[in-house]
Symmetry: C2
């Protein structure tokens, strides 16, 4: 493979995860190894930074800062909830790439971002501009296809499962056959995060919480829900429920639209399924119930991150650079592939960006028990390795200390772009 | 002081904290040191366990289990939301104490529990039954009088401040002048927990989140709230808000009654102040806002507990036993008293149970800045030492492993009690 000389650009998009900055660190560390890469730039706020030429010089950041990224939540480059809307946006992006001699572009994001990266790759080919584009998956939702799982998922469910186990200790102490605790977690179209809470259940301890898990994959009915809760309270002193935000009824309508606004992509902003269930319990059973909603805390809880997840997030960053530089790959997404060994091991692979961006991965039906409210062994086997190990975050004055980049700006060379 | 021979009983009451079991461990460890104490019993579900003679033998638990209590959330003995209602309840309690030769009673709880302990002490004196009763404070709310702070508070605000700092990293990454994140925390009558989030603000970094803190001590107005948010969004890319559940308007009415039911003590179950503020932002400013509600997670987050708090929780347990056995004290609550030294140090003291139980400690007015939405240096100086150090919780298979007691039952000797 002929070496491609030029500059490298990396951007972050969508909702952050606890380990999205570990991926950024992996890209930077690996890119530093190659003489063919002259400058390592970061695009501020994803593709918005491309349109506006908002680049920072990542190579000038301290090694300490780059190492610190591995235990810092948020997204050090900023993300965007913006997608290219028109051809002119793509044309502008190519103009900016040419101006700054960007030959490598790494985009850390979810399905929407993979679509953007795929199209950027196509346009570069059309224009005969040699560019290598690699997408790097990230999302706590675990709903990207063509990868065994997504970086960010393991940490999210480690945090959720930890919270459920702690909440359950509280509820067990307080409960006397009449105490219902509800935790609402994220998951617009899939129940991966809610399902992850089932890792609290120890093998051979069927009474372990969570007692009921409600996910978008299983149509919801008020009547069955009330029956489920009654059944649990008949044999337990308390009932712990985990519910995904995107619960739907048998007609496919969202059950709870607590906050019925839409985001920049036209997606309905969900929320309120926990309060919805709490109200049902309160009104129908006359039983004390409390709901909690972790919200964005669950995508930023680096203090409770999974070491396995963090290491894999770093690895996909590194391997994206290796694929582009050493193997000349482009138009691909780095994926995680579980090896077929006795103990858990994972290596990276490559998937076509165009194919990745078109599907949403949901929990296989046969990983859900017939009761519709619990996961079975294949799920547990799948998810358990992803939460192993703890990330040691540095503490300062009693609180986790996070890295902020200096953000040394790269000079703009073009006129401002009118969006 | 003449030695008082007999058995010792300990109970836990009210909402658990991350370190209420550390206090239990302190009581057990210290009680084991005295020959005059024959048996160490635990009362299941607080004073309910006394009425029902539901006692367990704590001395028969393994040392490993007792040590494990120091990193286990919930309340190992179970708590109750029940208070003695009539004279007969107190009479029964004394009868049970006499039957089991209980001469030392330690009650770990909040204001309500201190009142119960005070009355038990009085009745024992009336009846000429030699009994030593010591109350031990616990509550994440920090609203018990006659103590510098309450065990449980430091861990709660360490967790809340950690969460706010992480959420803020997320919001900063996503925000572009239009992103509002709201975290609702507990605090029915006082804003101690919400105020604790201000520990995220580093000295000399005025832009650090949280940008706005709303507490029950400061009357709330919709108009000022909207102005506050607008002011923040004019100079920051994002706005992080922390709000206590018990927000009141200038007439003293609760602002948000998301779940307007009452608990067993007739207290209104609050909740929904976060969603209330989110709705206000959404409707008035047309700005994207998200709310999270930690709920019972904030009183059970042992994985993020403060070492200082955990050690002090253990200490008050030990010193309660020392006060009763060595000093012959009764009718007192163990308190925490800050010493007047340059660096933080804390020792225990004793306060009269009857006096303790009658007040609610609120944040001093002069610890709140004139803007009504931030804390000043005296608060920071007060709260910072309480979150120092981390409790190393044992992890097993990727999740924190908690201790459960064997709960070896003590034989009942009386007829069942009709409540």
């Amino acid at each position: 493979m002929a070496e491609l000389e030029g500059n490298c650009l990396v951007g972050q998009s969508g909702g952050p995860t606890a380990v999205i900055n570990a991926t950024l660190a992996g890209v930077i560390d690996e890119a530093l190894n190659y003489e063919c890469i002259e400058e390592i730039y970061g695009s501020l706020n994803g593709v918005l930074g491309i349109l506006n030429e908002d680049f920072i010089d990542l190579a000038s950041e301290s090694q300490q800062a780059i190492r610190g990224l591995r235990a810092s939540p948020g997204a050090a480059l900023g993300t965007c909830r913006f997608q290219f809307k028109k051809e002119a946006d793509y044309e502008r992006a190519l103009e900016v790439f040419k101006t700054h001699d960007i030959r490598y572009f790494f985009y850390i994001g979810d399905n929407d971002s993979m679509a953007t990266a795929a199209k950027l790759n196509s346009i570069a080919i059309e224009q005969g501009y040699e560019l290598r584009v690699i997408g790097i998956p990230k999302t706590i939702d675990n709903d990207i296809t063509r990868t065994d799982h997504t970086p960010g998922y393991g940490s999210a469910i480690k945090y959720v499962a930890t919270t459920v186990r702690e909440m359950a200790s509280d509820s067990e102490a307080v409960g006397q056959g009449d105490y219902v605790s509800i935790l609402e977690v994220m998951g617009r179209n899939s129940g991966w995060i809610a399902a992850g809470a089932s890792l609290c259940k120890r093998r051979d301890y069927p009474h372990d919480p969570p007692h009921l898990i409600y996910i978008p994959e299983v149509p919801f009915s008020n009547e069955k829900f009330i029956e489920d809760v009654q059944r649990v309270l008949q044999c337990e002193k308390y009932c712990v429920i985990v519910v995904g935000e995107g619960l739907v009824d048998s007609d496919g309508n969202y059950v709870a639209l607590g906050s019925s606004s839409t985001d920049a992509f036209g997606n309905v902003q969900l929320g309120g399924s926990g309060e919805y269930l709490r109200n049902l319990v309160d009104k129908t059973l006359n039983v004390s119930a409390r709901s909690c909603k972790l919200g964005i805390a669950q995508r930023s809880a680096t203090h409770c991150a999974s070491k396995t997840d963090s290491d894999e997030a770093y690895l996909v960053g590194q391997d994206a650079v290796i694929a582009a530089v050493q193997k000349g790959e482009s138009g691909k997404m780095i994926s995680l592939q579980r090896t077929e060994s006795e103990s858990y091991a994972c290596e990276t692979g490559l998937a076509d960006l165009g194919e990745v961006s078109q599907g949403t991965k949901r929990i296989p039906k046969d990983w859900i028990n017939d009761d519709g409210v619990s996961m079975n062994y294949p799920f547990i086997k799948y998810a358990t390795p992803l939460i192993q190990g703890e990330v040691k975050a540095p503490f300062e004055n009693g609180l986790p200390a996070f890295t902020k980049l200096k953000r040394v700006r790269v000079d703009k060379q073009l006129a401002a772009y009118e969006q």
